[in-house]
């Protein structure tokens, strides 16, 4: 479904900061219907990677093949059409404050020029799917974080995409809400057969949601495989330390906690 070959990204130098190579040649294959996690520390290049899939960032080298097309070859004019085949969910939800829940979910369809009836046909069944029937005409300001993210997920699904990209979608949520959102995503994946790419810095997210995982560090994938296998036998130091973070909550390992903390995201 998605094939990244030698994807590289260098952010050009700006006033005050030198050019920065965020991706050093990424190879990643994602099969249709699969949920692939990409995990790594802050600055590892995870967001850059996922943004290269829908061309929010244009790779400096390499190819991104989505559903048989090398999308890096698309001209600017054709990008919107391509992007409508992908849904994206964001850490900070990015909902329009001026639109109700219904109208936020309808936006991708509106952009594609769908009629009122087509929009209703697509949005109405999504509301119960994400558990927001009773919030249809509410504004984002009236919702909790978890509810906002449900709107974000429904919005990503409304144009009936083949692929959903998730960038740290639970990082702004508490543990219980995180669990609910993850099981919602899992459920949607099963029901709709969607392909999902999930960016996270928490192993717990990978454990609960993903089939496969790629561990990133310094702009490269250092380890990749089935989730169970990686958990059972982490070979790379980055993977091991990310796994150790999972025990941060337990006071039994104060040393590990202190060590891991120094590398933590601010």
């Amino acid at each position: 479904m998605i094939r990244l070959s030698n994807v590289q990204k260098t952010y050009p130098a700006r006033r005050g900061s030198p050019a920065h190579k965020a991706l050093h040649g990424i190879d990643l294959d994602i099969a249709a219907g699969e949920i692939v996690g990409v995990i790594g520390r802050s600055g590892a290049g995870k967001s850059t990677l996922i943004r290269c899939i829908n061309l929010l960032e244009v790779p400096t080298a390499g190819s991104v093949i989505v559903d048989g097309t090398d999308v890096t070859q698309l001209v600017k004019r054709d990008l919107p059409l391509f992007r409508r085949q992908l849904g994206m969910v964001f850490q900070h939800f990015n909902l329009l404050s001026s639109r109700t829940v219904y109208d936020n979910i309808a936006l991708p369809l509106e952009l594609a020029g769908a009629s009122k009836a087509e929009i209703a046909a697509a949005v109405d069944p999504l509301l119960p799917l994400v558990g927001l029937e009773d919030k249809r005409d509410r504004y984002p300001a009236e919702l909790s974080g978890g509810q906002k993210q449900r709107v974000g997920i429904a919005r990503a699904l409304s144009s009936n995409p083949k692929v959903v990209l998730c960038d740290e979608v639970t990082s702004a949520l508490d543990p219980e809400t995180t669990r609910q959102i993850l099981s919602l995503l899992r459920d949607i994946n099963k029901r709709l057969g969607l392909t999902m790419v999930v960016i996270t810095h928490e192993m717990a997210v990978v454990k609960q949601l993903c089939d496969r995982v790629a561990v990133m560090d310094g702009g490269v994938i250092v380890e990749e495989g089935k989730v169970d296998a990686i958990f059972a036998n982490p070979t790379h130091a980055t993977t091991q330390s990310l796994l150790a973070d999972e025990f941060l909550d337990y006071p039994a390992r104060p040393n590990a906690a202190a060590n891991a903390n120094t590398g933590q995201e601010a």
């Binding site: 919107p80 964001f90 329009l96 952009l111």
Partner: protein
């Protein structure tokens, strides 16, 4: 006394309204696209055109830095060209509009720049074309700020319209100068000042109310 004053006061108020509303509408018509371009033409932005921004920015600033009364006099030839005359309420709309355009452009620019960049990115990820990002995301999200800014513009224009009154444009300023000052009628002067205060107060309240209605960020 009041009976004779009331009709001319009403007439002058209506003239002021017609000048201000016309300038506001025309100023928004031209100022809105300029503001959108100013807010979106920077490097890496939606309609990347840094050169255009470098040219239009200083022009906007230059127009804004000329004191209004000087601007009104300086563009009299242009006013004659557009309105056919340089005297009267219709003619006054020309300098008021010219002053309003850059003012409104900066207000629109500011309001759009307040919109969270994440929303633009989300819209692009959904497949929005650049023009759709403006119409579906930037302008609706900036609307409360734009209404606030236009209210500010309206109040400023009421003040300016009193100045063009001094060069024979009619309206409340004209009434105040000709009757209140030149014919020494303190009662007229007082009535004009009170009317201006009331009008500005009303405009501000209306603007605040509209902005609150448009703002869904704190419900």
């Amino acid at each position: 006394m009041f009976a004779t004053l009331a009709p001319i006061l009403l007439q002058a108020t209506l003239e002021t309204f017609s000048m201000v509303i016309s300038a506001l509408v025309l100023g928004t018509t031209f100022g809105l696209p300029i503001g959108v371009v100013l807010a979106t033409s920077g490097r890496g932005e939606l309609f990347e055109a840094p050169l255009f921004q470098k040219i239009i920015g200083p022009i906007v600033n230059a127009t804004r830095s000329v004191p209004f009364i000087i601007l009104a006099v300086a563009i009299i030839p242009f006013t004659r060209l557009v309105a056919g005359t340089s005297i009267g309420t219709a003619a006054a709309i020309v300098p008021l509009t010219v002053a309003a355009i850059p003012f409104i452009a900066r207000i629109i620019e500011g309001a759009i720049r307040e919109v969270d960049g994440g929303l633009v990115e989300a819209a692009q990820a959904m497949g929005a074309r650049p023009f759709q990002v403006v119409t579906k995301v930037l302008l609706p999200e900036a609307l409360p700020g734009i209404i606030h800014g236009l209210t500010l513009t309206a109040v400023t224009l009421i003040g300016y319209s009193a100045m063009v009154g001094a060069v024979g444009a009619g309206g409340l300023g004209d009434l105040g100068i000709r009757y209140g000052y030149q014919r020494f009628r303190p009662d007229v002067m007082a009535a004009v000042v009170i009317t201006l205060i009331v009008v500005v107060q009303m405009v501000q309240s209306l603007g605040d109310w509209l902005a609150r209605k448009a703002d869904k960020r704190n419900i």
